[in-house]
Symmetry: C2
Subunit: 376 residues, 2 copies
C-alpha cells in the first residue's frame, strides 16, 4: 500500500491524497460505505461503482466470520471474489462488534470469548486468529484487534484497556509478520489509537501506534456517545502525533458535519452506517440540509430529492414518491434513500478534496457545515 499526498497546506491540517492498493486508487479524503456482511445494505455492487463512485468499502470481520464463514470465503478466493466488488476493501477487526455485544462477551489477556448474536454459539477472537481471519477474507486493509471503550469510561479502565490494546497490537503485528497473504496481493495493517477522552492516554496511544510504523493509522473509541467537542479535541490531538505521510482513519464517523470538521483536523478516511441505516428510516442527507422524508410537509412535494446533487436516485425521483415508498414500507424506498445518501456522502468528500486542492477548503467548509447540518 502506498500513500501519496497531493496537497497539503502549511497553515492548516486538511490534506488530499491517493492511497494505492492492489485493487485500485482511493482518493482521500474518502468515505467508505459499510458492507457489514459482504453487502452494503440495499445497494447493488454496480451501484456502488457507477452511481455512488465508492472506491473502497468496509466488511465486518465479526459478521463475515459467523456468516458465510471463513471456509467459504477462502473457497471463493476471498471477499472480493465472493461479493463481486473488485475495488478496495477494508475489514474491521471485530473489536467494535464484540464491544457492542455487552453481556455476551468476556475480555481476557488472551482475547475475547463471545456468543454469536445469531445462534448463541461460543467463539474466541484473539489478536492472532483475527489476523488469520482477515487474511482469509482478503481485505486490502486489515484493522488491528482492539478493545473499544464505551463512553463514559473511567480513567483507570481506559488506561488498562489502552495498554491491552497495545499488547494486542504487538501480537497482531507479529502474526502478520509471520504469515503470508492467502491471495496474490499485499494486505496493509492499520493499528488503532484508543484512550477514551483522556488527553494523556490519547497522546500515549498515538505515540505507541505511530512507533509501530505501519502503512496507515486509525483512531478508534470515538463517536460512541461523547460530545462532539471531545471527539474533535481527541482527533486533533492524535492527528498531531500520527505521522502526516500516512493515511489517518477515524473509525465510525459520522454525520456530514463531523466528516467536514474532521477532514479539517487531518483525517483522510471515514466510515459510518449512518447514510444507509438512517436512509432506511427516511432520513436524507442532501446538499441543502437534512430531510426527514416521513414528515407531512414532503407529502406532495414533487420536486426531485436533490436536483443539485444529481444522479439517478436523487434527480429522477421526487420527494413525494420516496416518502410514499418509505411510509408504505416498500423495499424500493430503502434502496432509493440509501443510494441517495451514499451518493451524497461520496460527493461531499470528493468536493472537499477538490476544495483542498484548490486551497479553498476552510472557507467552503464553514458554509457547507451550516448547510448540511440544517434541518429542512
Amino acid at each position: 500500500m502506498k500513500f501519496q499526498l497531493n496537497s497539503t497546506d502549511a497553515k492548516s491540517s486538511e490534506r488530499a491524497g491517493i492511497i494505492h492498493t492492489a485493487h485500485g486508487e482511493i482518493h482521500t479524503p474518502i468515505f467508505m460505505p459499510v458492507g457489514t456482511a459482504g453487502s452494503v445494505k440495499a445497494i447493488h455492487q454496480r451501484e456502488l461503482e457507477h452511481d455512488i463512485h465508492a472506491e473502497i468499502i468496509l466488511g465486518n470481520t465479526y459478521h463475515l466470520y459467523l456468516r458465510p464463514g471463513i471456509e467459504l470465503l477462502e473457497k471463493a478466493g476471498g471477499l472480493h471474489k465472493f461479493n463481486g466488488w473488485n475495488h478496495s476493501i477494508l475489514t474491521d477487526s471485530g473489536g467494535y462488534q464484540v464491544y457492542s455485544l455487552g453481556e455476551n462477551r468476556k475480555i481476557t489477556e488472551e482475547g475475547v470469548i463471545f456468543k454469536s448474536h445469531i445462534d448463541g454459539s461460543k467463539h474466541t477472537f484473539t489478536p492472532e486468529n483475527v489476523m488469520d481471519i482477515q487474511r482469509s477474507i482478503g481485505a486490502d486493509i486489515i484493522m488491528a484487534f482492539d478493545e473499544c471503550t464505551p463512553y463514559p469510561c473511567e480513567h483507570n479502565y481506559a488506561k488498562a484497556s489502552m495498554a491491552l490494546t497495545h499488547r494486542w497490537l504487538t501480537r497482531c503485528i507479529d502474526r502478520l509478520t509471520n504469515t503470508d497473504p492467502k491471495y496474490t496481493y499485499e494486505q496493509a495493517l492499520f493499528p488503532i489509537v484508543q484512550g477514551s477522552v483522556y488527553k494523556e492516554l490519547r497522546e500515549q496511544s498515538a505515540a505507541f501506534v505511530a512507533s509501530q510504523n505501519q502503512s496507515g493509522n486509525a483512531i478508534g473509541g470515538l463517536s460512541v456517545g461523547e460530545p462532539h467537542e471531545d471527539m474533535y479535541a481527541m482527533t486533533s490531538l492524535v492527528c498531531g502525533i500520527l505521522p502526516s505521510h500516512k493515511p489517518r482513519y477515524l473509525m465510525g464517523v459520522g454525520t456530514p458535519e463531523n466528516i467536514l470538521e474532521c477532514i479539517a483536523l487531518g483525517i483522510d478516511m471515514f466510515d459510518c452506517v449512518m447514510p444507509t441505516r438512517n436512509a432506511r428510516n427516511g432520513m436524507l442527507f442532501t446538499t441543502e440540509g437534512i430531510i426527514n422524508i416521513r414528515n407531512e410537509k414532503w407529502k406532495d412535494d414533487l420536486s426531485p430529492i436533490d436536483a443539485t446533487l444529481g444522479g439517478y436516485a436523487s434527480a429522477s425521483h421526487s420527494k413525494a414518491y420516496l416518502r410514499h415508498l418509505i411510509i408504505s414500507k416498500e423495499i424500493l424506498g430503502a434502496q432509493i434513500a440509501s443510494l441517495h445518501n451514499l451518493t451524497f456522502y461520496l460527493w461531499l468528500v470528493k468536493e472537499a478534496r477538490k476544495q483542498i486542492i484548490e486551497g479553498t477548503f476552510a472557507f467552503w467548509k464553514e458554509r457547507m457545515v451550516k448547510k448540511v447540518s440544517s434541518r429542512l
Copy 2:
C-alpha cells in the same frame, strides 16, 4: 390501443402480437411485473427497463387509492409521472384485493364497502368510482370492476356473482363512455370473464364479455386454488369464445409452467406476484429448473445463479453469495433474487414469442415445461 397479430397458426392456439399504447409497444405473449403500490418490490425502475426488459407493469387500484391517494397522483400527472415508469401500465380494479379482505368487506349491488388494511377506515368502491380512480391513476389499460369468486365456490353463488360482475361491467363502460381521460392519452378497458370452474357459466360470461367489444379481454377468478386442470380447461374454453383479434389477459397466473401452458391455449398477457414474492423467500426460477436457494446444497456452490440466462444479477453473482444474503436477511438478497426471477420470466415469454413466430412453439414448450417445473 391497437393489437396487431404477428403470427398465428391454424393448427394451434398460441399467438404472437404487438399491443400499441400511448406509452409504447408490448410484444405478446408478455409477462407484467406487479408494481402493487407504484413500485415493483425491490426493483428500481431503470432495472425494469434495462435488465428485465419489461414493457408493461401493473399497479393495484386498491393500494394506490389508499396510498399515496388519488389527489397526489392527479397532482403528479398520473402514476407514470409519479413513479417515473414511462412505459405502459395496467391497473387492476381492486376487485381481487377487496376479495382478499375477507371479513373486512361487504358486497352489495351498488358496490363494495370495505375497511382499509392500513388504518381500518371505511371506503366504498363502485364500478363508477373505480373507473374514476383508474382515470386518475392514468393507466394505459383499465380493468373492469368485478367480483372475484373464491375456490371452491357453490354454483349458485358463482352464477349470481357472474351476473353481478356483468351488470357492473355495463356500469363501468357507461362511466368510461361519459368521462374523458384526465391526461393526454387514451385508456383502454378490459372486461373480465368470471364463472368459477363451471363450464356453462364461463361460456355465458365469455360471450357477454366478447359482445361488449372492448379493446382487450381478461379472464379472472382462476389461479385461486383450483386444480391446474380446471384452470387450463376454463382458459381453453374461454379463449375459444373471446375474439382472436383482441388481446387476452389471464389474471394472476402463474408459475413458468402455467404460463407456457396458457400461452399454448391462446393467452397473450400474464401477471403474478410469484417471481418477486417467492424471490424474497429464496425461491428462484431458472433456465434449468426451480431452486430453493436456502437449501444447504447451495451453500458453497460458487457457480453463477443462472449463466444461461445471463444478465447482471444472474450471471455475476454466485448461488453461494445469494444464499448467504437471503439467509442473512440482507435486503440485497431480495433485490438480486427479484431481479433474477423477473429477468427469467420476461426471458421466458420472449423466447416463447420467438418460438411461436418460428413455428416451433409446441415442440419447445414440451421440453421447456419439464425443465422449468423441475426442482433442482
